[in-house]
């Protein structure tokens, strides 16, 4: 039985439809990540599940209980907010225990749960402090502890890490992941950070304009994005795109664009519409000596271009290069790097190429990618 179910949920603010016909099932114990750009409706979905926002139409269920019209406190969910929402006038201990006291949980049980959560999150030395005497990461932990002690059916996270610096964010990401692994509490986690989504999610829902673009395991979204939006959104650095057309030549399909001609893998369907080719920066292989003065090799699996920028990140580097009018980027090992202004050749493995039709939908996805 799914733990959380959205059925045809629509949300309008005045005339603006923010969420349209949203359907989703979250499995028991699953960590589901909602990811999307700003304004895509992630928070709205989470807040509707929490009961902080009404739904315009449709139903929401938690387990087999219809919670659509229930008050937030009757839904048995706990939420961690972006700015934590800690009670500023209360100590950490009181922040953790208030929800239990309000629910008339016996004193010894409250003490047990607070001690348990504080132990798990390393909050023991901080229990008598007030939130303003805590660092950002500590506040974040208190907010999580406050959710944990409730032992709710569902955890809701709304961008819980976005107020932390990069290092702490990476650390807390790991902590949240391992906590959820141990607790096995169904979790809906909202973020705009696709790295968080990839690393944390059992499954990811990619949203744009209040509509689901794709639902799947992280690796599925990475390998087989169903449309150009998902392809561009999932994966860092972002996928390269080239606009062009497909045409058959001697029994094989070729992708053609200005300054580029690439052989597609066998089985690629013919198409007359404008095509977008996508290739991930890490799937490009680079040669620093151009093999031919013409475009690509005779095998038509290369692009020739000129390096315009090299970003050295340490172990890997980003090489930006210009192929005719197309600006592309390859992610390569930093051992040997080309100089700006030099010509290079980039191999484009046909098996790694993504093709998108005029409407942005992925096409020709018949062969399995290894």
């Amino acid at each position: 039985m799914p733990s959380v179910t959205f059925e045809h949920v629509t949300k309008r603010f005045g005339d603006a439809t923010v969420i349209e016909d949203f359907d989703l099932q979250v499995a028991d114990g699953e960590l589901l990540v909602l990811v999307g750009g700003s304004g895509s409706g992630k928070s709205t979905i989470l807040r509707m599940l929490a009961g902080l926002e009404t739904v315009t139409s449709g139903r929401i269920r938690i387990d087999d209980r219809d919670v659509t019209d229930l008050a937030p406190r009757d839904r048995d969910v706990a939420m961690v907010f972006q700015d934590y929402g800690l009670y500023p006038h209360m100590t950490v201990r009181d922040n953790l225990s208030l929800g239990l006291r309000l629910r008339k949980i016996p004193r010894h049980e409250i003490d047990r749960r607070v001690a348990w959560a504080a132990g798990m999150l390393g909050l023991e030395p901080l229990l008598d402090r007030k939130p303003k005497a805590l660092s950002g990461g500590q506040r974040q932990r208190v907010a999580m502890g406050r959710a944990m002690v409730r032992e709710p059916k569902v955890f809701l996270f709304d961008e819980p890490l976005s107020n932390l610096d990069a290092g702490l964010r990476a650390q807390m990401r790991i902590e949240i992941g391992s906590l959820q692994d141990r607790l096995k509490t169904t979790t809906v986690y909202v973020t705009h950070d696709q790295v968080e989504a990839m690393t944390l999610g059992d499954r990811i829902v990619v949203l744009a304009d209040g509509r689901i673009q794709q639902i799947g395991r992280p690796i599925e979204l990475y390998r087989t994005p169903v449309n150009r939006f998902v392809a561009g959104f999932i994966g860092t650095p972002a996928m390269n795109f080239i606009e062009g057309t497909l045409a058959a030549d001697g029994g094989r399909m070729f992708f053609s664009a200005e300054a580029a001609r690439l052989k597609m893998r066998a089985g690629t369907a013919e198409s007359s519409e404008p095509i977008t080719l996508g290739i991930r920066p890490e799937d490009l292989r680079m040669d620093f000596i151009p093999q031919q003065p013409t475009h690509g090799s005779a095998d038509f699996d290369t692009l020739t271009g000129r390096v315009v920028l090299v970003e050295r990140l340490g172990g890997t580097s980003h090489v930006h290069f210009q192929v005719g009018p197309h600006r592309l980027m390859a992610s390569v090992a930093s051992d040997s790097l080309p100089e700006v202004g030099h010509d290079i050749t980039a191999h484009v493995p046909a098996a790694r190429v993504h093709l998108f039709g005029g409407d942005g939908r992925a096409i020709g996805r018949t062969a399995e990618i290894v």
Partner: protein
Amino acid sequence: MRAEQKTASLMAGPYAAFLLVFAVYPIAFALVLVFLQWDLVTAPTFAGADNIRLLVHDGRFWSAVANTFVFLSIHVPLQIITALALALALNRQLVGRSFWRAAFFLPVVISGAVVAILWSNLYATDVGLINHLLVKIGLSPVPWLTDPRTAMPAIAVMVTWKNVGFYVIIYLAGLQYIPRSCQEAIEIEGASAWQRFRYLTLPSLLPQTILVVTLSTINGFQLFIEPYVMTGGGPLRRTYSVVLYLYNNAFAYQKMGYAATIGVALALIIGIVVFAQRRLIGKAEAL
């Protein structure tokens, strides 16, 4: 740097002069007057500690102090409750919210004497609106301002009404500072409307409450215009406030030295009371 300092002192000059003339000078003058006898007509004479000795044994002064405490014990709690309740009401999505805010603020800027006359009419025993309504619902009229038991409470209610708009603004500002996520968190955690108020709103408004207590106390100790206009200090001297006594000593009995002594004593009492209040509230917060 020197030029900047020059500009700074030039710009501060007018205010400093204002402070000197209207605050420092009167305070210094009052402190001097404490040790003088002066009827405003003949030259002042040195009186040593006579005024102070007189004050300590002056039953009228101490009964005025007691009256003022009676006033405060009604006014301050009532002011907190009304201002907080109105602020909570006005903080919602309300039709004509800015109209209501303005409406409640209006009495603050109306002259105290005008308000006192208006309320004298409302409180009037035979023709007042309040008694008219009481009679309508079958109760007997109350001689609000002429019964020694009700006169001071009636004045306290009126002063509370007059000032409520000012304190509402203080509370409204405080309400803006309660983060939305805190309010939503406590809602999800299971708090009822009352529990949200009890555990989040009220404690979050502690700084505002301290301010309201302090200001309404200081303001209340200066109670004057209302008894002066409405009751003249009666009935049975029950509404005789400290400042009314001070005023009468100065301008009815021409005892400037004694009036100044009362003023200085009042300032001391206010200081002690406000200090005690802060200590008490600080203790309450720690609980």
